[in-house]
């Protein structure tokens, strides 16, 4: 097996070892070069929290954090993620002693989800976004949410949940 950083390419027909740190835990799986990170997480590592929607970067359902930065898992190859830290929705409660975070609780309280298909991606976007902009205005928040499609809520519950959690105590918002 050649190292990923090499002068010879990873061949298309071979499954190559890919190691990531998934929600704080080192994990290794195997991937053909063409395998998307979203499919690698679900089918290879069994992390089914990340949903797959449009597979061309529009719907936002597969959004994860790559080295802390929110991005589409369907627009990245698994081999590109090698050596990186990937955080998914499963990690939120894991990092919070097994309980839902303040943001997740607010989603439940404000009916910010119905079918839940878009929710994992939105939560992962928000955890990155609120770290950079801890008290967004509603306009800023809606602009960020434009990167996600939700067909159940009309976004109103999502906006209310975030406003609630960011306006209430910043301490809680800091670890969402």
């Amino acid at each position: 097996m050649p190292p990923l950083n090499s002068t010879s390419p990873l061949t298309a027909e071979t499954r190559h070892a890919v190691s990531i740190v998934l929600n704080g835990t080192p994990r290794t799986g195997h991937a053909h070069p063409r395998l998307l990170l979203s499919d690698f997480l679900r089918h290879e590592l069994g992390a089914h929290g990340t949903r797959v929607g449009c597979e061309h970067g529009v719907c936002g359902a597969c959004t994860v954090r790559i080295d802390g930065v929110a991005a589409r898992a369907c627009l990245m190859l698994a081999v590109q993620a090698d050596g990186r830290r990937i955080d998914t929705v499963e990690g939120l409660a894991q990092a919070n002693e097994g309980r839902m975070t303040a943001l997740q609780e607010a989603f439940r309280r404000h009916h910010a989800l119905q079918c839940g298909f878009c929710t994992a991606g939105i939560l992962m976007s928000l955890t990155d976004y609120l770290g950079r902009n801890p008290k967004p205005t509603e306009e800023e928040l809606r602009d960020m949410l434009s990167g996600h499609l939700c067909r159940c809520t009309g976004y109103a519950g999502i906006v209310r949940a975030v406003m609630d959690v960011t306006g209430r105590t910043m301490k809680e918002a800091a670890h969402v």
Partner: protein, 278 residues
């Protein structure tokens, strides 16, 4: 929606990447942020034999303002440029336009050089490059060449870049004192492809308007200021520009609607640019 098979190379140096690109020819593609190329791979609109990943090359992470230019390397993301504290002073047009590029989540990976190389006619970054009189630095194994933005774009997804070249960096001239800049676009939703995008620059002598999303590439037109203000016949001039762009009807909008947007948004951004000169 899964990509067809390809070999994948993560080169250690730019030279390695260029050697692989030269050897791969038409069958090789480079990827950096992948926010335009990955959808095309997923939809199998492109099916390269070899994908060369520039995204982690430190050599391509330059982001600096010197000698009158802001230089942005091929591995620098839109989010990183947008987060630059001095951007609004250095290239105010870019600071105004970048929030319109895709969404928060795609700007985190998408690159300016990638957008320029992709050359979508409605994209904001090529428009800003044209509007500011920027440059594209191309590099292959043997040489580096610099192409003015005005000469770089040939049509939809088509540029003067040869198959063995990468866009190593793009360069935006730093804003001169006394100039004003404004950007606006119309799209179905914020973050969608622009139906029409307008970027205006006004300095002591002239007013310029760059328009994207109408013609097959971004287009620029300038008018001299009259008594320190916009030309009195600006409406006629904008109308002529709108017709000369020769837009077509498509699923997003009619050509007539696009001409109307050029006339209306064009005037608005020119007035904004004139009034915010400093």
């Amino acid at each position: 929606m899964k990509p067809a098979s390809f070999d994948y190379l993560r080169p250690a140096t730019v030279a390695d990447a260029l050697a692989a690109l030269a050897a791969g020819g038409e069958d090789a593609r480079v990827i950096a942020g992948g926010q335009s190329l990955m959808p095309m791979l997923n939809m199998r609109l492109v099916q390269p034999r070899l994908l060369i990943d520039l995204g982690r090359l430190e050599e391509l992470r330059m982001l600096r303002a010197e000698d009158g230019w802001l230089t942005v390397g091929a591995a620098v993301t839109q989010a990183e440029v947008l987060a630059r504290p001095t951007l609004a002073q250095e290239v105010p047009l870019l600071a105004a336009a970048l929030p319109w590029v895709g969404h928060f989540q795609t700007r985190n990976r998408g690159t300016l050089c990638g957008s320029v190389a992709h050359a979508d006619p409605s994209a904001e970054t090529p428009l800003c490059l044209i509007a500011t009189g920027g440059e594209v630095v191309l590099r292959n194994l043997r040489r580096r060449r610099t192409v003015a933005a005005a000469d770089f774009f040939l049509g939809p997804l088509t540029t003067v870049k040869a198959v063995d070249e990468i866009v190593e960096c793009v360069r935006f001239p730093l804003a001169r004192p006394g100039s004003g800049h404004a950007f606006r676009e119309q799209s179905m939703r914020h973050g969608d492809f622009a139906i029409t995008a307008c970027a205006a620059t006004v300095d002591g002598q002239s007013a310029s308007l760059a328009v994207g999303g109408v013609a097959d590439r971004p287009a620029l037109r300038s008018w001299p200021l009259v008594a320190g203000g916009l030309p009195p016949d600006l409406d006629e001039a904008l109308n002529a520009f709108a017709w000369d762009l020769g837009g077509d009807d498509d699923q997003h909008a009619t050509a007539r609607y696009r001409r109307d947007l050029v006339r209306r948004i064009g005037r608005t951004v020119l007035e904004e640019a004139l009034s915010c000169r400093r």
